[in-house]
Symmetry: C2
Subunit: 256 residues, 2 copies
C-alpha cells in the first residue's frame, strides 16, 4: 500500500482472499484500517464500522482517507475504498495509548470453552468446491469439533460457531488482525438450515476492547435473528487469559 | 433543516435535547439520518453507524452529505456533522422498499415481557438535578418498574433497562425515530454501581430490521462488559406484535 495524492492511498486486493470469488470483508476492513491508521500514528484502533457496497475482486483499490478529528484522546478518520466500483465506506476511531485501562469492572459472560487448537478442526480450502474458501490457508481458523459439522456436510441446528483464530507462523495478532478475525469464520448460520452460499455483509462494526498483541483468539459467533431478509452475526473474541479482546456485529443478507 | 451549498445541509441542535448539557447522540443521529435520506428518496433506512467526536450543544450545525453509492437495491450515504467543532461522522445504508421481506426464519429470542405502558414508570425531567435529563419530556420513555430503581435512588445490580418507547401524541415511529429510541433510555449500567454520570458514546450502530411504522416499541438494553475503560450497550426493539424492529449497539466510555 502506498500513498498516492494527498489523502489517497493506493492498495491492492490480492488474489486468494476471496469467498465465492468475492474478497472477504474483514480483509478489506483491515486494509482500510491500516490506511486510516497512518493518520492516527501511535494510536490504538478502537472502533471501526464499515458499510459494504459492491463485491471486492482482486486488483488495485484506491482508498480516500480523511481525518475528521485528530488530537485529544480519540481521533476519527473516514475512508472510502473504490475498485472499479465503490466497495466500502469505513470510519475508525483511534485511542491514545495512555487511554489503556487494564481493569475490568463488569464481565457478564466468559470466553467460549474450547479444546486446544490442535484438537479443533482446521478450516482449509477444499481445492474442489467453493467451501471452505481459498483465504482459509492464509490464516488459522480452528473450529470447535462440535461446530465444525458443516465441514462434514452436517448441521448442528444452532447458529453458532466457536473456534480459535491465529495468524500463520504465530505472527502476533494486533488490532488490524483482530478486525480480520472478526469476519474470518464461516457464517454461524451455516449450522442452520440456510443455504451454504455467499452471505453478503451490508455493515460490520468491530470494537477492539484490548489492543494486545496476542497469538491466539478464542472466538464465538452467533446469529439470533434471521428476519426481514437480514441476519445479524455477533462475535466475541478473547485471549488465552480470559481478557475480552474484541466484539463484532455485522448485518448481512440471508444467503440464497 | 435546509439545503445549503450542494451536499451541505444546515440544521440546528435544539435546546432541551440534552443530558448533562450535551445533546443526546440518538437525536444527532436522527438529524443526520434525515439529511442523508434526502439522497436516497423513497428508501428505507436500514443501517446507520455513527462515530462521535465532540459533545453537541444547542446551535447551528452543518452536515456535509455525500452519496457514495446510489441505485441498486441499497444506497450508501456518508455524512459529517459539525458545530463549532466536528461532532459526528455517520454512514447509512438505505434499502429499496421492494426489498422488504416480512418472513422471519430464525428468532432465537423474544421481546421483553413488560407491563403495559401505563403501569411503567415514565422518566421525566426532575426539574432540579440533571437526571432524568431534559429531553425526556420530548418522548415517552416508560421504564419497567423493576428496572426503574435508579429513578428512586436504588440499583438492581443488573446492567439492564427494559421499557416502552413512544413519541408524543402517538406520532408513528418511523426508522428515524427508531434511531432516536435506541439511545433514549438511561444507560443500562445506571443499574450497577457505576456513577450516574455522563456516559459518552464513541460509536453507535443501529440496524432497522423492519421499517414500520408503529406506535410503541418494546425495548431492552443490556451491558455485559465494562472493560478497558469502555462499555458496550446492546439494544433490542420490538413492536407490540412481537416483530423485531431494530437492534443497536454502542461503545461508550465508562462514566466517572
Amino acid at each position: 500500500m502506498v500513498a498516492g495524492k494527498e489523502g489517497t492511498w493506493v492498495g491492492r486486493v490480492h488474489p486468494g482472499w476471496d469467498i465465492f470469488g468475492i474478497a472477504n470483508g474483514g480483509y478489506l476492513m483491515a486494509i482500510a484500517a491500516k490506511a486510516m491508521a497512518e493518520r492516527a500514528p501511535g494510536r490504538d484502533l478502537t472502533s471501526m464500522s464499515a458499510h459494504f457496497m459492491n463485491p471486492g475482486t482482486p486488483g488495485p483499490v484506491e482508498i480516500v482517507v480523511a481525518p475528521i478529528k485528530t488530537g485529544g484522546t480519540f481521533s476519527t478518520v473516514t475512508s472510502v475504498m473504490r475498485g472499479e466500483r465503490p466497495l466500502m465506506a469505513a470510519t475508525a476511531t483511534f485511542a491514545e495509548p495512555t487511554r489503556r485501562i487494564p481493569e475490568a469492572m463488569i464481565v457478564h459472560s466468559s470466553a467460549p470453552d474450547l479444546p486446544p487448537p490442535e484438537s479443533c478442526v482446521r478450516a482449509l480450502p477444499s481445492g474442489s468446491g467453493p467451501l471452505p474458501p481459498p483465504f482459509m490457508d492464509k490464516v488459522r481458523v480452528m473450529i470447535h469439533p462440535e461446530d465444525a459439522t458443516a465441514l462434514r456436510g452436517e448441521r448442528t441446528g444452532i447458529a453458532r460457531i466457536r473456534g480459535w483464530f491465529g495468524l500463520l507462523d504465530d505472527e502476533p495478532i494486533d488490532p488490524f488482525a483482530t478486525v480480520l478475525a472478526a469476519d474470518a469464520f464461516p457464517p454461524a448460520v451455516f449450522n442452520t438450515n440456510l443455504p451454504l452460499k455467499w452471505t453478503p455483509t451490508l455493515e460490520m462494526t468491530t470494537y477492539v476492547r484490548d489492543p494486545g498483541p496476542r497469538t491466539w483468539l478464542r472466538c464465538q459467533f452467533r446469529t439470533r435473528f434471521v428476519t426481514g431478509g437480514y441476519l445479524e452475526e455477533d462475535g466475541e473474541m478473547w485471549d488465552e487469559d480470559g481478557t475480552l479482546v474484541a466484539q463484532s456485529r455485522q448485518l448481512a443478507l440471508v444467503p440464497r
